[in-house]
């Protein structure tokens, strides 16, 4: 089955600050996109808006996921339909083991009915295989979700989740940041293996500040984001080019254009309102 994520003129804010200012992007099955850009350009905001983090508000624009209105879905719906994000800063859930969390998540993704989980034996077999494949310490399954994990452990645990959930479209939010070269290689190899295992059907959006990871995950398209919009796109060579001129070069080139953009329109919720009112 072929998947398609279409982002059309997306504007979003966090608190009162407008971050996304008309982002356009399409990610389809089998494509590997790299989204680059300086800090604060809106890359992470885009990732979180796509997953439905209620902290971010969509002002206007549209996101279609397999022709459905993604922005109208709660985050769990989005995930069950095959969208995944590997977070830059995963939160910890004390007292909940990775195994129990992952079994619930995989069961949800695979459409198990409420209160029914995939069998423990089946899950363990699956988890063991993925753990081995990604060279993750199996002990991670018995630990509490992200609790006391090092930076590298957190990133690898995100990739493990991705491998178990088998997304159609996966977004990796600066998964390479804070990792040493060896760790980047392992993470990249894991993503490549997943890509191959999907029959090259998985769509990937690699968000990164540095071109380094793109040596190991070869993108089909590279986009540069600046001030909330994608200002230029190209093939893999663009990443090299960017490495040469640096983000200052980009900034000089696009500052004038960005200054002309003015935010407008009514605030649209990131997802339907599903939150507990504290």
């Amino acid at each position: 089955m072929s998947a398609e994520l279409l982002i059309k003129n997306l504007w979003a804010q966090v608190e009162d600050k407008v971050i996304l200012k008309g982002a356009n992007l399409a990610v389809r099955s089998g494509e590997i996109h790299a989204l680059m850009g300086p800090n604060g350009s809106g890359k992470t905001t885009l990732a979180h808006v796509l997953m439905g983090n209620p902290f971010y508000q969509v002002i206007k624009g549209e996101v279609l996921y397999n022709n459905e209105d993604l922005l109208a879905m709660a985050p769990d719906d989005r995930a069950r339909k095959g969208l995944f994000i590997a977070f830059q800063y995963p939160v910890s859930i004390p007292g909940v083991t990775m195994a129990s969390f992952l079994r619930t998540a995989v069961s949800a993704r695979r459409g198990y009915e409420k209160d029914h989980l995939m069998s423990l034996a089946e899950f363990q077999k699956l988890a063991r295989a993925k753990v081995e494949e990604l060279q993750v310490d199996p002990a991670v399954l018995g630990r509490y979700v992200n609790e006391g994990f090092s930076g590298g452990e957190k990133k690898r645990a995100e990739i493990l989740q991705m491998a178990l959930l088998e997304p159609e479209i996966a977004i990796m939010d600066e998964t390479d940041s804070g990792l040493d070269v060896d760790a980047v290689k392992i993470v990249a190899a894991g993503v490549n293996r997943m890509y191959e295992a999907s029959g090259k059907k998985m769509g990937v959006l690699v968000i990164t500040h540095y071109p380094r990871i793109l040596k190991y995950i070869k993108p089909t398209r590279v986009h540069v984001m600046f001030d909330g919009r994608i200002v230029t796109s190209g093939d893999a060579d663009l990443a090299e080019e960017l490495d040469q001129i640096g983000y200052d070069g980009i900034r000089a080139q696009y500052e004038r254009v960005a200054a002309e953009v003015v935010g407008e329109g009514e605030v649209r919720s990131a997802g339907k309102v599903f939150w507990v009112q504290h």
């Binding site: 439905g52 209620p54 709660a74 985050p75 769990d76 859930i93 619930t104 989740q161």
Partner: protein
């Protein structure tokens, strides 16, 4: 058809809210408390004179003591409108076949026979005031372990009972301990001889069935030097419209080098006043552990205590409380360091939602001369909405300089970041919330026997349903 009450709670979800017709009782005392009622109870049980005298003395203490004015609101209990004694059937069932059909039905729904099949050493189930079903594995009996209902304990082991009964919790201790001492019925008597380790938990299920029926069970556990036993008490009660009173007393004696763990999960229906006095004394190098889960009841006031009387004694209190709409959970614990080099640890977790009130009330007391003692108290509260409340009342009386005492308290709400994270993996909001709550109480649920841990999580899941969205 689902019955939905004004608060939107589906009462059908309260699985244990069924009840049997009460016509089959062999004897029911008149309502209210009097000298006559107390004498009648003692007479019906053919008790020795000292116990009758003890009951009558306790009645006098009860009548003199004022109602407590702290903690929860106990003023609404109508003490004159309660049956203090009911005897559902004659005698006790030794095997499952002997148990009357309607009582069996109740037990079936509580899962007692299944529990039995799961290699439980003994099942003592209290249906109303009498224990009707009781079995104990032969090997324990051979080792001299006694696990009986309290009435049988008094009949069959009068000397041991007389030696210890009321020594840990005297009737003068508090008004409800006095009430229990006057009208007690049922409960468990456990005696573990020196050096004997009872490796499988002893379990008892308690249950109130009749409206306005007070339940006053009395439990006495004696662990001789070097013994070990884990006693598990689970309570469920059906839902009724008028208020019921449960006022138990539990006394535990842990002798030199012995270890006793006492685990309770109470899920009384939401109209029960649950006022319980639980106390243990721990001698040299002995360890006493209370694991206490409070989910049900209208009001629970329960502060399991450990008096560490000799050097090297240890106390551990783990408590979890969940208060939903109309509930006030006022649990806690007391650790009394009365000897050098004693150690205690108290961990309390409370959850409140839909206007419920839960918290921790505790005492740490260190007597002069209890040198080198250590005490760590940790209480965490999780508040699920703005209508709910958490209270923490830690009292510390430290009269010795050479001690280490720490106290940590946290109050938190479920964070949106955590919910979002779990939901981003396809887990729906209710389940995500459940998962966070289960994680919060995990330090306690992991200490429970497997089936209780599952039960606790399931009950909390039921309580949590519809709490979000």
């Amino acid at each position: 058809m689902a019955v939905v009450n004004p608060l939107g709670i589906d009462l059908d979800q309260y699985r244990y809210g069924f009840h049997d017709p009460v016509d089959g009782y062999a004897f029911r005392s008149e309502r209210g408390l009097s000298r006559k009622v107390v004498e009648q109870i003692s007479h019906l049980k053919s008790e020795p004179d000292w116990m009758r005298a003890y009951r009558l003395h306790s009645l006098g203490v009860f009548e003199k003591k004022p109602m407590p004015t702290w903690g929860g609101n106990v003023g609404e209990i109508d003490l004159d409108n309660i049956y203090y004694y009911m005897k559902p059937t004659e005698g006790q069932g030794r095997t499952w076949d002997d148990v009357p059909e309607n009582i069996k039905r109740t037990f079936d729904r509580l899962g007692i026979p299944e529990a039995e099949k799961k290699y439980l050493a003994g099942v003592g189930a209290q249906y109303e005031s009498e224990v009707v079903y009781h079995s104990l594995r032969e090997e324990w009996t051979k080792q001299g372990v006694v696990f009986l209902d309290m009435d049988s304990g008094l009949r069959e082991h009068p000397d041991i009972v007389k030696e210890y009964f009321g020594t840990v919790v005297p009737p003068e201790d508090n008004k409800f301990a006095a009430l229990n001492s006057a009208v007690w019925s049922g409960g468990s008597f456990v005696y573990v001889p020196a050096g004997v380790h009872v490796t499988i938990p002893l379990q008892a299920y308690f249950r109130i069935n009749a409206q306005n029926m007070g339940q006053f069970e009395r439990t006495l556990i004696v662990a001789e030097p070097g013994a070990y036993v884990h006693y598990v008490e689970g309570c469920t009660a059906p839902t009724y419209t008028s208020d019921s009173l449960h006022s138990a007393v539990v006394e535990i004696i842990v002798k030199e080098g012995a270890r006793v763990r006492y685990t309770t999960i109470q899920n009384w229906s939401k109209n029960v006043y649950n006022l319980v006095t639980k106390r243990a004394v721990a001698y040299r190098d002995a360890t006493m552990e209370w694991v206490d889960g409070n989910l049900g009841s209208k009001l629970t006031m329960k502060y399991p205590s450990v008096y560490m009387l000799e050097p090297g004694a240890k106390a551990e209190i783990l408590s979890v409380a969940f208060a939903g709409a109309g509930q006030h959970q006022d649990p806690g614990g007391k650790v009394i360091h009365a000897a050098p080099h004693t150690q205690s640890s108290v961990v309390s977790k409370s959850i409140s939602k839909s206007g419920g009130r839960a918290g921790y009330r505790g005492l740490v007391k260190v007597y002069p001369g209890a040198r080198g003692s250590k005490c760590a108290v940790r209480c965490d509260a999780l508040i699920l909405d703005d209508q709910s409340r958490s209270d923490t009342y830690p009292t510390m009386e430290i009269d010795e300089d050479d001690v280490q005492v720490t106290h940590e308290a946290t109050v938190s709400k479920v964070s949106d970041e955590q919910l979002f994270y779990l939901m981003s993996r396809g887990i729906n909001q209710d389940e995500a919330m459940n998962m966070i709550v289960r994680g919060f109480i995990e330090p306690i649920s992991r200490e429970l026997p497997m089936e209780y841990s599952v039960e606790l999580n399931r009950l909390i899941g039921l309580e949590m349903e519809g709490s979000v969205g």
